[in-house]
């Protein structure tokens, strides 16, 4: 799960990184956002969305994206 601040919500961490990069010579950087990643193994992938809604993200202020990597059948 990738969890990031919703668009339009002030992201002071992203702004600080955006200001730091040009100081190191990396120009042309814009729209930096810092979020977090949660990795887990789960038997029933249908549980992932309710997990995000209930605990892993705060849907009032954060968006989340789910990436499935492999499954029990293919492992």
């Amino acid at each position: 799960m990738l969890i990031r601040p919703k668009e339009g919500i002030l992201d002071p961490q992203g702004e600080a990184v955006e200001r730091a990069l040009p100081a190191l010579g990396f120009d042309g950087v814009a729209n930096v956002h810092v979020g977090r990643m949660v990795e887990l193994e789960v038997e029933d992938e249908h549980q992932i969305e309710p997990m995000c809604e209930k605990l892993l993200a705060n849907p009032l202020v954060e968006d989340y994206e789910i990436q499935l990597i492999g499954s029990a059948e293919t492992a």
């Binding site: 919500i9 002030l10 002071p12 605990l55 009032l60 202020v61």
Partner: protein
């Protein structure tokens, strides 16, 4: 009248809250793992770093057994005060609207602040006069109050904005200078500053925080009477 003060692993202001509450009534600590609120007439969710603030401040504490009981208690009209981390817990529990985000200055900040009492007609502020300025300290990293625009408008119309930072005091970037809010029913109140650290002249820069606890005692007294 008895206050119950929750204690989570990582709480750090529960003893100050206990002492502040005991200046106006009885007060008892309630361990987070217990569902029994021991007959408390009002609940205080204190400041600190419950469960290490892992994931998001208040996100895990909100699911503790004691909080499940507090949610039922609040839905039945019981008085609940959340201070700092307690405010974050009450927002995560959806007992209060909105969320607390990282300070706009990204820094932990500790300051004695002036707060304006916007609504002096609540169970938590009735001992204050309208527009009174309270001197109360704040100390936090995640205190920027946020709610969607429409929510903010509804809250303002319903008198749910209880305290605002006075001009020049909003160091964390809270929307509309909001420092403390209550729910629609008016029985749940959360604020980022710490009234429990402003109750004695010896240890605080003012005793204005007592007004919050005195208001709660009077509110419980009037319900019981």
């Amino acid at each position: 009248m008895k206050f119950g003060v929750l204690q989570f692993p990582g709480s750090c202001d529960e003893l100050d809250a206990l002492r502040a509450a005991s200046l106006v009534g009885e007060a008892e600590l309630l361990w987070h793992g217990e569902r029994d609120l021991r007959g408390a007439d009002a609940i205080i969710v204190p400041g600190g770093f419950s469960y290490g603030d892992y994931l998001r401040a208040g996100a895990i504490a909100r699911f503790s057994p004691a909080m499940e009981s507090v949610i039922d208690f609040a839905r039945e009209g019981g008085l609940v005060l959340g201070i700092c981390n307690g405010f974050q817990v009450l927002c995560e529990a959806r007992l209060l609207p909105g969320a607390l985000l990282v300070n706009a200055n990204r820094r932990f900040t500790f300051r004695q602040l002036r707060l304006e009492v916007v609504n002096a007609d609540t169970h938590f502020t009735r001992a204050c006069s309208p527009h009174q300025l309270l001197s109360i300290p704040a100390k936090h990293s995640w205190g920027r109050y946020y709610a969607a625009e429409r929510t903010l408008q509804e809250m303002s119309e319903r008198g749910q904005v209880v305290l605002r930072y006075a001009p020049g005091e909003n160091f964390n970037g809270s929307l509309e200078d909001i420092a403390g809010v209550c729910n629609e029913a008016g029985n749940v109140f959360g604020l980022m500053p710490h009234p429990e650290h402003a109750v004695r002249e010896l240890t605080g820069a003012s005793t204005d925080g007592l007004l919050i606890f005195e208001s709660m005692r009077a509110a419980v007294g009037s319900v019981v009477a």
